[in-house]
Symmetry: D2
Subunit: 348 residues, 4 copies
């Protein structure tokens, strides 16, 4: 498929520097299963960003990272509190329920963000053996609705979680976009705010395919115990580990993570600026990272989708999502904006 799409940041190719890093380690034999030097260097790079005491396990994908990380903390009768729009609730085909055996308590939010009030209000029946007990709060940064938590908001959620004996898990499939948008380091809304377990995204940030479980929780001794076993048992241990390690090393040892994320965010702003004010097009969520959610006349959508590729986010409202990635160009954006303008004009 030659055309540029606005479907998702995983439609994008691998960043050339990442592919070069993979090619660079493709010489001779090495230890499998992450016991190689490249992976060791990648782990050091993760720690450089997220804290020297972080425990790190590289896995294949986001579902894997979320499962391995959440599973460390939970007993079977505990539940995970999350937004009803969370990836773990909507887009993982019930993997948390099946593989971890836990219940998700899914809370409706206006913007994909949990609040201490929502979390607290969801907690009833503590100590009642008939009810599952709160075990983890899971948030996504940036959220599935393209919104951002501030550091203070995450700190407050960590406070509630810890006061209630829960861990705070952060699904950071797009943590780079969040950090770039906030002008903060990767630790800025994670380690520094009391997050205990982070799913560190890589694939949407330009990798071929790699994510990492990063266990941060220093006030929860033993949280990382069994991390290696959990990764293996859940089917997330890569055989030729150096090729996973090389990807993260390429992303994190320099500023590639930031360049990629900043660029995607900038293109998204350009896109939002371009369509904002076009009659018949309504941007219905804050544009904070690399997604624009918009309403536009339903009958212009199919033809636009054919040319550009993007998702109808909500079948009921017709809301569409446009997403930019590390490789989106100004021309790509301008072409979409022009097409939207023209389609809507014809339609009106």
């Amino acid at each position: 498929m030659a055309r540029h799409t606005f479907g998702s940041d995983n439609h994008a190719p691998v960043h050339p520097e990442v592919l070069a890093a993979i090619a660079a380690v493709n010489t001779g034999h090495d230890e499998p299963y992450g016991a190689d030097d490249v992976t060791a260097a990648a782990v050091r790079a993760v720690r450089h960003h997220l804290g020297e005491h972080a425990e790190v396990a590289i896995v294949f994908n986001g579902t894997g990272a979320n499962l391995v990380g959440l599973g460390l903390a939970l007993r079977p009768w505990q539940h995970v509190i999350c937004a009803s729009s969370a990836h773990i609730a909507v887009d993982e085909c019930g993997a948390p329920e099946r593989l971890l055996g836990v219940k998700l308590v899914e809370l409706d939010t206006p913007d994909g963000k949990l609040t201490p009030e929502l979390v607290e209000a969801s907690i009833t029946g503590v100590g009642d053996e008939h009810r599952t007990q709160p075990g983890a709060v899971s948030i996504t940064q940036s959220t599935e609705l393209g919104t951002l938590y501030t550091p203070d908001e995450i700190r407050a959620l960590a406070g509630v979680a810890h006061a209630r004996g829960m861990i705070l898990h952060l699904d950071g499939a797009r943590i780079a976009n969040a950090a770039a948008a906030l002008g903060l380091p990767l630790a800025g809304t994670t380690t520094d705010c009391g997050v205990d377990v982070l799913s560190l995204g890589g694939t949407k940030n330009g990798l071929l395919g790699a994510e990492a479980v990063v266990v941060l929780g220093q006030d929860r001794p033993g949280l990382a115990d069994g991390l290696a076993f959990a990764r293996k048992q859940l089917g997330q241990l890569g055989s030729k580990g150096r090729y996973l390690g090389a990807q993260f090393l390429a992303l994190l040892e320099g500023d590639l993570w930031l360049r990629n994320a900043s660029h995607a965010n900038a293109m998204t702003r350009r896109l939002a600026d371009g369509v904002r004010g076009v009659p018949g097009v309504e941007i219905i969520r804050p544009v904070q990272v690399n997604a624009v959610f918009a309403l536009l006349p339903a009958d212009v959508v199919p033809a636009l989708q054919e040319r550009f590729g993007f998702y109808v986010w909500d079948e009921r409202t017709g809301e569409v999502r446009w997403m930019c990635s590390w490789d989106t160009t100004e021309e790509d954006v301008d072409e979409l904006v022009a097409a939207v303008r023209s389609a809507v004009a014809v339609q009106v």
Copy 2:
């Protein structure tokens, strides 16, 4: 790590043709999750080898392939009959029990191979609600002990399995080595012999990291139903699918699979020929594919391991395993043989 090892075929690098294929698809956007054209071509290539009606799902690793494939057929109260040396029994950290919830009935064998007699003898309590019921026979080709099933042996196992209402699953992490050694196509000990579900190995045959679940069973209607959901739910669906598809395409559209496997097998024969007859060295299993299992004086092992890298296979007997891969050279082999000769000579 610069030195060549005989540890396992997953210590080897990616074959250059595979890496080139990955690089070749790294242009522009494409559909994620295996909905891309490259993956479609890879699926066609798999079908070319294994049958036009095969259902194919590419996954990340061998554990994933085994779980997704076995899970299609089993109800929770059914068990899987396998050799006690099987990878699913020994090397998957209990993933089948945890993720599928099923019991493995592990049978001791002299050579890693199940027989109809062993399978039949293991079946008792059919219809008794207190006992798990036989649901699948799982065999490995080539086995974890470097041995091979003949087509007739697999046909006989399929016969027993099907007569008992079970499926026959084949863990083909090294199916290419087996086919090469037997002078048969990939279908020769799979599709042609009644295998219902195949874990098609790729990583050990020169890929960066990809395996496939191939559902063959034509006399079991509906066996592949839910294959896509099972892959997703078990955490084995790759985001940027084209990079997985490209690997299999490179392996299977030409004869790379066969070149790689034949070479590894040939180097292994050279190694076996080289150490056979060396006083103090005893080859204790048939050398049929790409592994040599040998006993040698215990005190020469550590120094040899330091230079070459290989595993002590059985801590109790001191048995070692040497394994060759697609990139093992005659010089690598000769160097090991010379070192073994010399170490043993000194020791004697």
Copy 3:
């Protein structure tokens, strides 16, 4: 504890006829695990009420009945649609998620009742491998909020369920109360309306402790396959089965089930009539079976609870639940009514 309570119908004792039936079978040896003649007679009695083709498995408790019954139909990537007030969602400590590995899609309702519209609206992403797929609709009759489905309402839900390839499961912990209130046989809102799997309640209807899974679904061939294995594997197979069978036989071979349920319902109406119109007391849900849900001044609750025993149903609103059972007497009711009147009067 001597006092009569309005806490729940499981605070009540065993009906004397049931205890007598248990004592009557306590002679000599018998086959264990439900292979005895008493259990066979009990199964015939269940079939007499619910259909000759029903498959029946007696289990220990309601959670067990729901798990065994729901588990028959579901593949791991399918979800169960239920009201957010359903027992399986609220009061089973996450057992469905853990033991069956399935997701519950919990829908908010005003009255504890699903509707075809609610069910349909919850279904999105059919065929999308990222989403769990609809596998079962589970309703409760009478509901956890004391309300009733009419036969037509259940028929309509069965229609939606079957049209979507789902089964309709009915949690009948209080099916006897429902049938009595509607003036229908036990089949009247189950077999006759397309219910596929019924959890047939016994304990709340006067038994010592026994429930039954009743598989009705005739247009779903094979639905009951594995019922015996599922019961055993899920820990719900009783050893000395005759004592479970004897309970159901006592309940169902005559009209004990109806006498008990009708009496509890009548006492509940008396209670509702007694407190209705008392200033400061508001009955906030329809009184259709054996529960009254009411709001009353918060500061009178603790003293009343001490004398009578009942639950605050909703900690946030202060809503209380009073429930009558087979042994509640007119005097018990009148005493509670008088106490409520007097407490509220003092308070006002």
Copy 4:
């Protein structure tokens, strides 16, 4: 069924004192779910026998007790070491694998008894993420083969288990028979020997149907945490708890447990003495509690089974099991002995 059987101790009826105790608590209302005074008294009785610090949860059956108890200690990647003849391995339809998700490492033994040597030899790959890790040793007292552990043998197993970081679980479905045979209190081969979790049998000792999980492990702080949740989530929490409590109270507050067990053991010795020396009959296992395992001519078995009821224990060898219970009389035994003598004489 009028005839007396030697099939199993769960073919026997409920002891009259137990039934009387159930009837005695059948007055008025009481707290459900084990929060009643009868259950509290039963728990005190258990503690009187097994230690004041024991945590106790009454459950429905032996499978339930084993699951709840084992589940407390295990992380998902840990395995349970047991004899291949253990009830959890053979007779629970894979419930441990499915409900707990753990692997059983089943060791062959000559007599159903584990030894420290067998346990130690089974432990390999400690710390290797590809292998499950040892989490619990589970033994049965008396064993499924009618044999007994001495206190010293159990102490030694506790030593190995604890040294390896495992718990020692004891399936005490017939712990009363064991204690009676050894002339020891119930604590004699449990609490006093380092057992951490006990499945305390009741049903085979004369109850209608009740077992208990007893958490003893004092050097494992927090082992009982979550006991109530585990019982509920695994479907083992009884609604009208007083009827379960009353059974254990009847069994344990006096010496009913001992009378019942001693009687069954005595009848078994009488039976063994009666058939020993009969030509053609060979007692092939030690007769230590309430089971006799014997070989006799295959063609006499069916007619004997028709008259008396007993199991062919091993389909391959023809070995039969005769088991006595609390209600077996001398006449019952003598009748069986005479029939065996006569059948064998005819046959010879």
